[in-house]
Symmetry: C2
Subunit: 546 residues, 2 copies
């Protein structure tokens, strides 16, 4: 497969139509069967989605927040007759590798959580206008919306055919959202999730699967009415949108270079190195100047670049199991940007968007199934929002050298403005149920030297300059020899101590079960249901329960 | 493999020594290499455990609560030199089927949670006296104890060699307990869990992996001292212990019959039927009479039988994917027993033990990876603690027939005395975040007829006598044709809505990851690390990360 690219723009969308009519926007799915510039060897029937379709959706959801502050309600619909969305393309799933399946599902999960994040923090509400059947991932997409309105035409239904037809799970958050978000009763959820044809009409409302049904004659008007009502309740945002220009990285054999982020991949050692550069100056400190900087503001631009690098890492470099995280430049300039974010995020919608974007990218880092070692070496600047990068890492090595003094530093965002999926700050997760240790860290002011960092529990090891090279090299060599799967399961278990949320339930519980099932012969074996989908043979199951 | 038996008695233990010296008890592991009456084709070296070893442990933990109320502290140790416990037997794991692996881990997890339950609700504290290396499942056993005391002899360590040596996880709660129970910092947990030789001495204390270390010369005295101090802080319990006699079921080809519980398995249809009989009278209503009844008290006896049946179902009948749950007899008599439990559990330790035992058995039901349909048919009595059985089921069918009136009924335990693993009552989980619906159910008094049961949301369907047979038959036929794996993942996701606890994290998150890894070629393939353990070849890994 050729390298995947995650940047796109509405002008390039092939599978979605985005119409902006403030305060509403319509995001209508119209999946093309096949395209000349993609490598799909399967047909995308029935509005079924693959990664290309979801990349456009993710782009639209993110772009609406930055570029269209006047949009208060997004209506997610379909431009196809009688079908809302049939979910993930089964032939694509059946034909793809296990690592791709898992990464595809993770990405689509992040996109759906992005919809919920937009609703919660941008005041952009989502209505799923289900004017045809929403099955599997199609219904899961609807579940990510604030409201689900279903057409009552005697045929359109919502359904989870995965278990009965494919021997896999509705693994894109569906099972979790049904019982935990919509609070559908567990026995009804059981019936629903094992009934391939789904549930329609009044019963879908009664069971809590959708919010309302309308007859065909009234459906469009009812959707419009509900959308306008939601929009009327929303707050206005001052000023124009901020266009997100292309990142235009330089790509060569050794890696990829953006303006502030570079990523090198070494195939021989199966490692990657991501280096983040601090801003070159303190940057704008008031909303007007920040708006002026727009998408070039370091706090937005750098995190967009990091996000793009992480996605390329996940999909294009599956063998790079260990990532070294480095920073370069001026800690003061990072902290100045953090201070501007902290000062203005409550009063300025754009600053708020930049903050929440940074939060999402750091969550993407937390959820990336690679080992991360942060290396606080000479010239590093793990301060403020860049300290979060180190706190997201599985380990941090900090050089303790009198000749090259290295420091960490807290910033205005460190106390909780960049929460993890579990709802806690990275410091609160690190020192679980130990508010005194969190407070001790937060009470520091100014640079923290290696010894203090070790005492405070901020770094794993602080070798001196004699030991540094050997210790880091050894830690790298040991790590890259371990089983990728065992490391993935271990890291997923150690990174998210503490409370659970819808997000952590989806990534930790549901996805883990889905990954398991994606390995089971009953699904993916020669006679498995996923393998045989669309073929005349019936699946043959090993009946042993586990 | 011949049918497994889960009942045992200290007089029959092969692998543990149980010494009772009130207020202390010593439970010392001394795993026999092989025995004449077991079918193991592997050597149990280094105090490594298999299911037979764990069955004895589970028996001891449970029996201590009922038979030895004067024991306040249990010291878990080893009778072997230089080894505490090496964890699960690797050769046993490598040679066993996937369903067995998964069920083995579930059982050992339940046993360790049983230790924590004894500490929390019986006031029997557990000290792990680690006078030799505790590796893998050995350290996980120690983690289930209240305190871990480690000998400081320059060689004894605690360790998780699973990831670096075996390409699997410390899946018996280990990863979760390290970060969530002991709150070891995640980066230190990462180093610990990837360092095969483990951590010893002062560093083990500093990292929070153990509570204290003592030199060899002082170790035994220090353990004794700490145990006596804990015992001195414990409350006294009045009266003698209650001996748990053997259940002595009748077993024939059609199934197993206990005094109050029967289980039939139909291999052709891959279904099982468990029928629970209500007590024949109201039973004793005061502590003295209850103590007189002892292990014959229905509330204890019936749940012990149900527990035994569930374990036999899991291990001996892997193909029976659907279980029909039935009840027979007098609802009033069940409710009278519930009332006695509710009235005296706070003042009488034995009644409290019976209540907590019922709670654990119902949790075992929740966690059993089979579909459960409760059938409230004529002559059924889903009332009180038996209503919990229906609420634990994936669906409940209730016959709505004027000729054979069927009723459900709440009881004195329904409001929260039998919580699930998520900490909520089954009603609170069923009506998540909907206290009004919970209250509406709890406010009912007396029998609830099918129509009311449906309105209250207590049953899934209430077919009339014309439809009953067909509807139930169809629901059974559909279910048994679906993929066992997909159903397991689905049920695990739908059953535990709401908050997460250490228990649900272990069973839902950690176990799911472990199950996944137990399928991965990197662990169990021809060249996988688990398959090659103990052999000269090195494991070969597929390096792709997921």
């Amino acid at each position: 497969m050729s390298d995947m690219i995650f940047e796109t723009h509405p002008s390039e969308y092939k599978h979605w139509k985005l119409e902006i009519t403030p305060p509403l926007a319509r995001l209508s799915m119209d999946v093309q069967l096949s395209g000349e510039d993609d490598d799909a060897d399967y047909q995308r029937k029935l509005n079924s989605y693959d990664i290309h379709v979801d990349i456009e959706l993710a782009d639209a959801v993110n772009r609406l927040r930055f570029e269209h502050p006047d949009v208060k309600v997004v209506i997610v619909g379909s431009n196809r007759d009688r079908i809302f969305c049939a979910g993930a393309n089964i032939f694509m799933l059946a034909g793809s590798s296990h690592p791709f399946k898992v990464n595809f599902c993770k990405y689509t999960n992040e996109t759906r959580l992005g919809i919920e994040d937009a609703s919660a923090f941008s005041g952009q509400k989502y209505i799923a206008a289900v004017s045809g059947t929403a099955s599997g991932g199609g219904y899961e997409l609807a579940l990510a919306c604030d409201e689900i309105l279903l057409i009552d035409d005697r045929s359109s239904a919502v359904s989870f055919p995965e278990v009965p037809l494919l021997a896999v799970l509705p693994g894109t958050g569906g099972l979790t959202r049904v019982v935990d978000k919509r609070k559908v009763r567990r026995d009804l959820a059981d019936v629903f999730s094992t009934t391939a044809e789904g549930v329609k009409g009044r019963r879908a409302v009664d069971w809590g699967l959708v919010d309302a049904v309308y007859p065909k004659s009234r459906f469009d008007a009812a959707v419009e009415e509900r959308a306008q009502a939601l929009a009327a309740a929303g707050d206005d945002k001052a000023g124009e949108g901020v266009a997100l220009g292309p990142l235009e990285p330089t790509i060569d054999e050794s890696g990829i270079a953006y303006r502030h982020v570079t990523m090198q991949v070494d195939a021989d050692t199966r490692t990657a190195e991501i280096t983040i550069s601090a801003p070159e100056d303190a940057g704008p400190d008031n909303p007007a100047a920040i708006r002026e900087a727009g998408a070039d503001w370091w706090a937005l631009r750098m995190f967009r670049e990091l996000d793009d690098a992480l996605l390329r890492l996940r999909f294009n470099h599956p063998d790079a199991g260990l990532v070294l995280l480095k920073t370069r430049g001026s800690a003061e300039n990072v902290l100045a940007h953090d201070a501007a974010l902290a000062a203005h995020h409550e009063s300025d919608w754009f600053v708020s968007e930049v903050l929440h974007h940074a939060k999402r990218v750091l969550k993407r880092l937390d959820l990336t199934a690679r080992t991360f070692y942060a290396l606080a070496d000479e010239e590093s600047c793990f301060a403020g929002s860049l300290l979060e990068v180190a706190l997201a890492a599985d380990r941090t090595y900090m050089l303790d050298s009198p000749d090259d003094p290295v420091a960490l530093q807290l910033g205005a965002l460190s106390a909780g403005l960049l929460p993890m999926s579990n709802g806690l700050s990275r410091l609160e997760t690190r020192f679980l149920d130990d508010p005194e240790s969190v407070a001790a860290v937060l009470e520091t002011s100014g640079p923290i030297d290696p010894q203090e960092a070790e005492e405070l529990g901020l770094v794993t090891f602080a070798p001196d300059d004699l030991d540094w090279e050997d210790e880091v090299r050894l830690a790298i060599e040991e790590r890259v020899c371990m089983s990728p799967d065992a490391l993935t399961g271990m890291e997923a278990s150690l990174r998210f101590a503490g409370p659970e949320t819808l997000e952590t339930k989806i990534f930790g519980r549901l996805s883990a079960w889905q990954n398991w099932i994606f390995q089971r012969p009953n699904a993916v074996g020669e006679h498995g249901a996923l393998s045989l989908y669309g073929k005349p043979e019936r699946a043959q199951f090993d009946w042993r329960r586990t």
